[in-house]
Amino acid sequence: VTSEKPTLILTDQISDWIYTLHQSASNLPQETFKDWCFNHINSLLEFDSALWVSRSDMEDKVKLHWTDDTFLFKQPREFVDNYAQIDARPHNTDVLNQRLSEAPGKFFSVWECCDKAQFIQTEYYLEHCVKYGLEHAISALMLPGEFSTIAHIISFYRSDNTHEFTAQEKCLADFIFPHLLEAYSDNLLASFKLQSKASYRGVIDRFGEMVVAQSGFADYMEEKGLCVDSKVTIEVISDLTANETITVKEATLKLHFQDGLIYIEATEPSPVEKLSDRQLEICFFIVKGCSNKDIASYLELSVSTVNNHVRNIFGLLKIKNRAALTSELIRQGKF
């Protein structure tokens, strides 16, 4: 441990790095984004392999499964199973997990919180670190927002045991971490295939916790009673892995399951959809600018029938005049 105060040197290269990160976030598909990120980080920070976990509620579930919410960079898939086996045995990695949640957003190395001589005797070191070349590692945990229940853990590994991460490098990793999270949530929202403009988008995990949501999504879901304390009541979704459109409590939810996350597009059906064919026909003439009298003569109806129809339409759409009706109908893509 160095007693020197670490410094961070900020240059154009870092500014460009951040810019490229955000540009790519809005262009790249979600499946390749994390992989792209690690390649991109490699231009600033040297490492051999890495790991990025995004999941909710660390306290309870940290030991349950390390499956599809773990992204591995240059490590085989079995890395996760191997870790889970070791982690299941008592008191192996507790000290590391504890350190993670103590100082969010701050990278630390294993050597900072363990006695090195002792650590290299542990099962964790012998059966995991040695096997996968994790001689030097720095990790950090971060919550993307103050109230977020989704935690992200990123670790960088080096297999060369003479090449330790310096204080400067940890500082740099701290600097770029928030940008990764910001870009990651942008990327999730950008990878939505939108059905309609008048909708709210959100991405939740399998426990209903919001990974990222467009402004208004949480309010809308809460209003519909589909969301409590910014946690989506997951029970309304019968099959978590299906891509389907369901209607619950007058809200239409278009669901898309991918990589352990559920993409939700919530749309309120427009009252225009409730109009009958006859009412729509009358709307057509109103939009054209016809008077009730004109409409009556076109459709061979009495003027009072048309009056009734028009009043019903206004009532259904909760509007007061013909101009508002016209603009609403055109906005909804009728006519």
Partner: protein, 333 residues
């Protein structure tokens, strides 16, 4: 003058990281004015200035009276009197011609003169620093002011604000790119954003290729001629394309849409109706010929209008005639 290189301690690093994350977070807001204001206010929390003025201009041209100016804690009439100074400033080679590489350069300079001091004191502010950052297509001049007594910024603070401004310039370009991806008036059109003089700040994919095809010897500065000469917003007919120019928050959004693309959206039945319509037949007559109800034809006519984004028959006819689209006028053979 050269590349900004800033050395900070761990804590400051975190603060700066947070501020820059904020820039990109805000970049998704619709309004450019709101975006710039939010950036300035988060910068002011770190650097300590009381008022500021942010001028954005294209790499193709100097800051002029028509450049876009955003004010922070300054009265709205501030910019009109400040413009001449800016113009003078931007004319100075020291500002606009950085190192020969010309890319990603920044300059910090103190710009004090008696005249400007007198002007500024009428607004109760004093100049702290003027900084310039350029990135790709936009230049950004940030003038920092303090209230009352000048507490001049230290070297470290100047470097910090410059670093933030550089990142803000990048976030600004990102903001323009996001704007281009948004839904505009026409679906599938080619889009660009210019300053009020028509100098290109950002363009969407295909815009330049489309203009090159459209206008012989096309150059980006030719947009200025189109935009300056007319009242905004405007719609301009350019043969097989339409151009829509709209002024918003001190920027122009330019949209070029080839309406041949729109004709492709028409169904066969609609094309059939359109063929009669351009010959001048009424809906009633078409209904009679096709032995369909008046309503059906009227519906089809409406969907044609909607798909071609026109509002009346004459407009549709002129569009179809200009398109010389083979469906309507026989094959090219």
């Amino acid at each position: 003058m050269g590349t900004a290189k800033l050395e900070v301690d761990e804590k400051t690093g975190r603060v700066l990281s947070e501020v820059i994350t904020g820039f990109y977070h805000y970049s998704a807001v619709q309004s450019t004015a709101e975006f710039v204001h939010r950036m300035m206010s988060s910068m002011s929390r770190v650097i300590g200035f009381d008022a500021a003025c942010w001028v954005t201009f294209s790499n193709n041209g100097l800051a002029t009276a028509k450049s876009t100016v955003h004010l922070f804690h300054l009265a709205a009439n501030f910019s009109s009197g400040y413009q001449p100074f800016l113009q003078q400033l931007s004319g100075s080679p020291k500002v606009l011609q950085g190192p020969p590489s010309g890319k990603n350069t920044s300059t910090t300079l103190d710009f004090f003169g008696e005249e400007i001091d007198r002007y500024l004191s009428s607004y109760d502010v004093q100049q702290q620093a003027i900084q310039l950052a350029s990135f790709e297509r936009t230049n950004h001049l940030l003038c920092l002011f303090s209230n009352g007594t000048v507490h001049s910024l230290g070297q470290q603070q100047l470097q910090t604000s410059l670093f933030l401004l550089e990142n803000a310039a990048r976030a600004f370009e990102h903001h323009l790119h996001l704007k281009l991806e948004n839904q505009w008036f026409y679906e599938g059109s080619y889009k660009a954003i210019t300053d009020l003089k028509g100098r290109l700040l950002a363009s969407g994919p295909g815009f330049e290729a489309c203009m090159t095809e459209l206008v012989p010897h096309w150059q980006n500065d030719m947009l200025s001629e189109l935009i300056e000469g007319r009242r905004l917003p405007a719609k301009q007919d350019l043969g097989r394309y339409k151009m829509r120019i709209k002024e918003e928050n001190g920027f122009c959004s330019v949209e070029v849409y080839p309406f041949e693309l729109y004709i492709e959206q028409l169904t066969e039945a609609e094309i059939d109706v359109a063929k009669y319509l351009i010959k001048g037949l009424s809906v009633g007559q078409i209904a009679e010929i096709k032995k369909l109800s008046h309503r059906t034809i009227a519906n089809q006519q409406n969907s044609i209008y909607r798909k071609l984004v026109v509002s009346k028959n004459a407009e549709m006819v002129s569009m179809l005639v200009k398109s010389k689209y083979r469906v309507f006028f026989g094959d090219d053979k």
